[in-house]
Chain length 127, copies 2
């Protein structure tokens, strides 16, 4: 079994050692995709993100942003205003990912009804 995804780099996402799994794992948390999607619309400040992405706590927002920044997907810029302003933007690298992220979120939006219907049917069948 081979996979086109990893052949060129002689990696295999299905392999435990494949570093691409790190990327997948990073995005596979509760908030990263949502934050990436929000930032794809333009620069946003910390508290604005916190208000926009409902339900995220200050701590987790801070942690998530740090991880995304460490991965080079977003950039953090501090402005010496009063009070201090911190602006987050997608990097070029992050921007290359945003289309995919958007299409994922877009898919969720378009197909949520089908998914919910399937869940109801499944639950009814196994009741």
């Amino acid at each position: 079994m081979t996979d086109f995804l990893c052949d060129l780099a002689s990696y295999n996402v299905y392999s435990q050692a494949c570093p691409a799994r790190l990327v997948l794992d990073r995005l596979a948390d509760k908030w990263s995709l949502l934050l990436m999607d929000r930032l794809s619309q333009g620069p946003v400040r910390f508290n604005q993100l916190r208000r926009d992405v409902e339900g995220i706590s200050q701590k987790v927002l801070s942690q998530s942003l740090k991880k995304l920044e460490r991965d080079g997907l977003i950039a953090r810029r501090v402005f010496a205003t009063v009070p201090v302003t911190v602006e987050y933007t997608l990097t070029e690298l992050g921007a290359t990912l945003s289309d995919t992220v958007a299409s994922l979120a877009h898919w969720a939006e378009r197909n949520i009804d089908a998914v919910l219907a399937s869940q109801r049917q499944y639950d009814a069948h196994n009741a």
Copy 2:
């Protein structure tokens, strides 16, 4: 702040109540994306999946497949062979998602080096 993703359905992915978050959360576990990607290449049996997707345990594989089936993304077919054969395939709904999933995994593969480099730089800077 509005989002093109949810406007038509009067949903908002950033809203806690948006059901699309359910989909995002479902995919945001350790194995779902990997399993979807593996199944996008064609039908696979249980133990074949287990062998291919390195590191997944029998229990978690079983659980993940059930959830994906419940969501209508994959189908389970039992063949009365000896020993019994169980084959998993993407549904039509699942197939519409596989392109996006593949592009996400593909992105990870192409850009893993940039991500790892960014991590090293970040860690060096904050040492």
